[in-house]
């Protein structure tokens, strides 16, 4: 007999070694997340998948599931904390949803809607971040980077290339590219790399395909993220 734990009152089966997130995804239950991608090692940095287990809060993507545990992923308290975390991500970068090519197919935006964040809240930092359009096939807009490190992990662990890294610390943390000039075009990055297809925001975008699907008809324009899941699973149809 398989083991189970309770997620918002619902019994979720799991195998030893699975995280709360693994088991929930397998059971078709949505826990919002940004830095997590089941194909890559869990990271736990965005903190959006925070859940309550008793008195403690843990990230569902890194916490192991255990027999009989009671997990709360939908209380107003948890949702409010997630909302605050999203509001922090939005003021840290420069996110221009109405004009963004990724609008409607952006996981950051969709998770924000899911948690009930309808407007920014904190004072914007308005950082000055460049756009790197040096690569023939892909453009990187650092303004939209949320430091989830999915591209770092995909390039290193899947593509075997180590194109990306995080540099600096604190609010100065930023994505950097491994090439003599620091530009993507001078690196060994290719549009076919997995790293080109894991970004949950519009920071890494293919060139020459802007607004192929009109805004209003995109993935999350049609269904909420809690139903259709991560954008990476639908990449073919949205870009």
């Amino acid at each position: 007999m398989s083991k189970t734990f309770k997620l918002d009152g619902r019994e979720i089966p799991f195998e030893t070694g699975q995280t709360i997130m693994d088991a929930a995804l397998a059971a078709g239950v949505y826990i919002p997340h940004l830095c997590h991608n089941p194909e890559l090692a869990p990271h736990g940095s965005c903190r959006v998948c925070l859940v309550d287990i008793g008195e403690r809060q843990v990230s569902a993507c890194t916490a192991a599931a255990s027999e009989g545990m009671e997990v709360d992923s939908s209380s107003e308290t948890i949702q409010a904390t997630r909302r605050a975390i999203l509001q922090m991500l939005f003021v840290e970068g420069n996110h221009v949803c109405p004009a963004c090519e990724k609008s409607g197919a952006c996981q950051l935006q969709a998770v924000a809607y899911y948690t009930g964040m309808l407007a920014p809240h904190f004072t914007h930092f308005f950082p000055r971040r460049p756009v790197d359009a040096s690569h023939p096939d892909v453009v990187i807009d650092f303004n939209r980077c949320i430091l989830c490190e999915l591209c770092v992990r995909a390039s290193r662990d899947h593509d075997g290339k180590r194109v990306f890294a995080i540099s600096g610390r604190g609010l100065e943390s930023h994505l950097v590219i491994d090439s003599p000039s620091g530009l993507l075009g001078d690196s060994c990055f290719a549009a076919a790399d997995k790293a080109a297809h894991v970004c949950p925001t519009g920071a890494i975008l293919p060139k020459g395909r802007g607004y192929e699907t009109p805004i209003g008809e995109r993935l999350y324009d049609r269904e909420p993220i809690s139903i259709v899941g991560d954008v990476r699973a639908h990449e073919e149809e949205v870009v």
Binding site: T81, A84, E92, S167, R169, G170
Partner: protein
Amino acid sequence: MNESLAVTVEGFVAESLATHGRDPRHLLQHLIRVQQRFSCVPDAAVEALSAALDVTRTQVRAAIAFYAFLHDRPRGAFEIRFSDNITDRMLGSRRLIRLLIERLGLTGLPAWGCDLVRVDGRVSVGLASCTGMCDQGPALLVNGQAVTNLDAQRMDRIADLVQEGIPLERWPGEFFRVENNIRRRGLLLGNPATDGAALRRLVDEGADAALAEVERSGLRGRGGAGFTTALKWRFCREAPGTDRYVVCNADEGEPGTFKDRVLLTDYADLVIEGMTVCAGVLGARRGFLYLRGEYLYLLPHLESVLQRRRAEGLLGTRILGADGLDFDIEIHLGAGAYICGEESALIESLEGKRGVTRKRPPFPVTSGFDDQPTVVNNVETFLAAARVVQWGGYWLRGEGTDQSAGSKILSVSGDCARPGIYEYPFGTPVHQVLSDCGAENTQAVQISGAAGATLSPADFDRIIAFEDLPTAGSFMIFDHRRDLLDMVRNFAAFFAHESCGFCTPCRVGGALLRNLVEKVAAGQGSEYDLSEMRHIGAVMRQASYCGLGHTAPNHVLNTLDKFPQIYRRRLAREAHTPSFDLDAALSEARALTGRDDVGAHVRDGSEVSS
């Protein structure tokens, strides 16, 4: 960069690689040496190290950007960094920084991470979070060496020495004198002597007996969290792995803490003996002492203690002639990152990477350095463990409380007549420490550093113990003359600067909190901002990835509760105040249109809303 410099740099790197090896885990140590030699890490060194160690140049650059003491652009030939902890400021450091800047012909003021560099490249002036000299501040570091007891005369003299280009070796010796200031000795400080007695007992009676004594003693980690030492050692001993490691956490980065500095100065033998006993219990063959960069001056002393112990047969192969008891210690230097005091970040840093906290579990006891079982303990813990094995577990139990056996060494600084090191049995009330060190009219005590708790006089009967007031050792005193908001501003800036940036709540929340504290301090705050501070603080506490983020808002939340007047008396309005001045924001438009009449100005915000 000119070609001849590139050649010099490449030569230096090649020499460093030849002497210290090509293990990619030594990257940070190579970078520190390059920085010391060239006052920055030039591009040529990045390329050479990246090629030799098989790490990407991006990883090398990322490490340089992460550690506060490494730079990609040259600082001055004399690189001066003032300690900027609140206790240094209380001793007048700000005035002295201005004096020196003026004497050196520089303009402006340095901010954290933003040094002033003189155009001739002779000298730069910057800030360091806290250099661990709070009992003899204000202090500074010049090319990594600590200068204490600063005053106006010393500033003049330093300016002259810099102008004349006198090398550091010829600066007056008294500048670099560091006092121990031990004011009260207890169980641990009573007797610095050791003759390998703990090790002999380990060899005579075996590892099980040694571990049993540590278990019997009830010793808990002295770094603050208070995990049971014997349990940590046992978990590590029993974890599967091919190698085991012992790491001494001498990163002492908590503002206001300096007791490890004293222990490493006068009690280094005992600390190393504790590490060696631990290695014997675990079956470890290699250990590391992770020394914070601010204590660079202790490096030759510590190396000589290690060397002497090797000669005495207390370290190295066949310790005390015992078969299979082989253990040696390497010293690794940090480079100015508070987060590296967190054990998993410390291990990342030991491996030459940015000091970012690891995902847990697995914990270091099962998967630490090189993914092998690793014990990381504080300096004071290893010292206590050595004595426990030497004198038995009951010896430690003889003092303290039920849950906190033994004594605690405190670093006392701030407003008192006798700052310094005090050792007390656990269970000692705060008021006793205050009266012993000659503190009068005390308004507040910050215990356990910037990450600790702010105590008001209502708390002074509380006791220092894991069950009431746990502390890593920092004890900073503020009397009635002080404006506690200065402390809050200092700590808020500290945490924003020291967040590793890995997780959202700490990275962004810390910066938001700092900005709100500054807004209130500038007289532009309102009740709304205070409630925002509580809100952000709660999110950081609840959602951060590691202890840094969990504790970073403590000082704000504590003072909002216990000292609300330090905020309230500055509030501009009861309700909301915008974070920017709308009228000032329109000045550019006024300039462009050439208008400056009444109609081109926004009236006072309160009138607009009414």
